[in-house]
Amino acid sequence: MGQVTLRGIGKRYGSTEVIRGIDLEVQDGEFMVFVGPSGCGKSTTLRMIAGLESITAGELLIDGKVVNTLHPAARGTAMVFQSYALYPHMTVAENMGFALRMAGIGAAERARQVGRAAEILRITELLARFPRELSGGQRQRVAIGRAIVRKPSVFLFDEPLSNLDAALRVDMRIELTRLHADLGTTMIYVTHDQVEAMTMGDRIAIFHEGRLAQVGAPLDLYHRPANTFVAGFLGAPRINLIDCPSAHHALWQQWLQCQADRPSAGRAAPSRLGVRPEHLQVVPVGSGVPATVVMAEHLGDCSILHVQVAGIAGLFNLKSVRDSGTFAAGTLIGIAADAASVLAFDADGRRLA
């Protein structure tokens, strides 16, 4: 079992309120990702679940039992730290068996359980080594192994991959996803990396300024963001947003038209419109809204064009799969949004439809 319930969880340091009432239900066996920009409260929330930070408001329940003041070791959670936090003077086996030793489990049983966890993570040959003799990826495995050995009902990961290089990060991402599938244990995973969030999570909880901006399945959040913050946070390059211009503008009109094509389009007049870069197309000059290429980034499989539209401050991003390589700075093009792809937001940033 490993159901985690947050009811109005809050945290304040003196007069500073950093978590402002989080309500969230993490189902047993779910892979939940907490994501958000720096300082949004995702790590603090995780540490409150772990018991490393006190909870100043609300209730935290694990498997239906209030655990607000329960000792970290008694909550049935295990944490993997960003820095790995391996004990430098203990071997890998001693590191992994430390919690069992603290629980008074005998050496033989410890060795058996550590050995089994090491097999799962394929680090059996590392058991006699010390942390400083391991590479970053190996240390990460040991840290995960230390968590597995405790047989927790909830795994807590605090940005576990951010100290690894890019290639290793991709490998570990896949490995962690597989580990979740094998163990079937609830995992709560904090990251600031939206690729990790999108690829690993059953559901994503997006944090913004100490509150939950939106909770949902990754693609739901991508296609149906609750507000401009979520729309802007997910997706790279960022979504293109324009405010309702005071004067009549061709681009606004074009996007408004596309937005009206959405089957779910509401009645209210939007005050902001957004189009993701992959839904903006290059069209022959004259047929779309005229724009000037300011910079073109050719990535091989696609090109990212940064274009300027006369009368609107800021640049627009286009992700173009075709015609890559033919656009240079200064080229005049036309741009047009895909039908039914435009998101509309009200004055407070909430999505209209």
Binding site: H89, F98, R150
Partner: protein, 334 residues
């Protein structure tokens, strides 16, 4: 002059020895080739080292195998082989001084570390802003002149007027506790059985702050998330101290204990001043360093004193090696 020095430093910073040699040739009476410049520049240190460090070292080894009457000049040396060592090893006072030294080194050294580590942990976690002030207070005795400390403690330990005996007299009036304490004023510096404890207390007090600073520095390098991981693993404060703090302090423990071993075995100033340079009644406060000083300058036997100093050196070296074996970190963990 200052401009010349600045120009010289700049030339050296560029590793331009040719320019440095031109600048030096202008101010020195001799011409220097670029290749000799480095040697000229390090010569002040080398000369001082040769005269005040290396020469005494070699000369004392030479002396250890000779009998010498210094007032008759260098010609009055007679080679005696290992007689000086044989004399030292057969000398009751030498063994007594070694016993005193080890006694005081243990009695002042062991508590230093047993108190300094918990104290450093407390200062590290418990005090917040007052920490720097507290560290400064503990460190103060270390930078105070030994003579001043000795005078202060002579007054504190005074039999008739000392604060320590005054306090004991007051405590004696308390029921139960009072019966454990002496009824008469204690003759701290006069009676042989009291001298070593009194000196050890002073040495302990003097070097405690130094050790606290060492351990505090080491404590501040232990990552906080190790303690968080240990908390998640179910370790309470004592087991966090035992399994995280102490092993993490091990390199510093090795360093600090080594300093205590070396310093304790070379103990000289405190007992020398407190016992008037003689070692106290029944030589109870005579450390080996005091005895070999007396052998040389009171008894005029420089050869035997040199032999003793080399014997003391071998003891220090041996114990430092033993300390290394006992406290060095596990292979691979550092």
């Amino acid at each position: 002059m200052r401009q010349t020095a600045a120009a010289l430093l700049q030339a050296l910073a560029r590793r331009d020895l040719a320019a440095a040699s031109r600048i030096l040739t202008d101010v020195l009476p001799v011409r220097l080739s670029p290749a000799t410049v480095p040697y000229v520049l390090i010569s002040p240190f080398v000369l001082l080292f040769l005269v005040f460090s290396l020469f005494p070292l070699v000369f004392s080894l030479y002396l250890a195998f000779h009998v010498w009457e210094p007032t008759d000049g260098l010609a009055a040396m007679t080679y005696v082989g290992i007689d000086n060592f044989r004399f030292a090893l057969g000398d009751d006072w030498f063994w007594k001084s070694l016993g005193n030294t080890v006694w005081m080194a243990l009695a002042s050294g062991v508590p230093q570390h047993l108190v300094a580590i918990p104290l450093a942990c407390f200062l590290n976690s418990g005090l917040g802003r007052g920490r720097d002030l507290a560290v400064g207070v503990f460190f103060l005795p270390y930078i105070t002149s030994t003579v001043a400390i000795a005078i202060l403690f002579s007054s504190l330990f005074s039999t008739d007027y000392g604060l320590i005996n005054l306090a004991l007299a007051h405590l004696h009036g308390i029921p139960l506790l009072g019966t454990l304490l002496p009824a008469q004023p204690v003759d701290w510096m006069g009676r042989p059985e009291n001298i070593k404890p009194a000196i050890s207390l002073i040495v302990f007090w003097r070097y405690l702050g130094f050790n606290v600073v060492l351990y505090l520095a080491a404590l501040q390098t232990i990552p906080g998330d190790l303690y968080e991981a240990a908390r998640m693993d179910g370790a309470g404060w004592f087991r966090q101290f035992w399994f995280i703090t102490l092993p993490s302090l091990r390199p510093m423990l090795f360093f600090a204990v080594t300093l205590s071993v070396i310093g304790g075995l070379q103990l000289f100033e405190e007992p020398f001043i407190l016992t008037g340079g003689k070692g106290g009644s029944d030589q109870a406060g005579m450390s080996t360093a005091i005895y070999l000083y007396r052998t040389a300058f009171d008894f005029n036997d420089f050869g035997a004193a040199s032999a003793m100093s080399w014997l003391l050196f071998f003891l220090v070296a041996g114990l430092t090696y033993a300390t290394n074996r006992a406290f060095r970190p596990r292979a691979g963990s550092q």
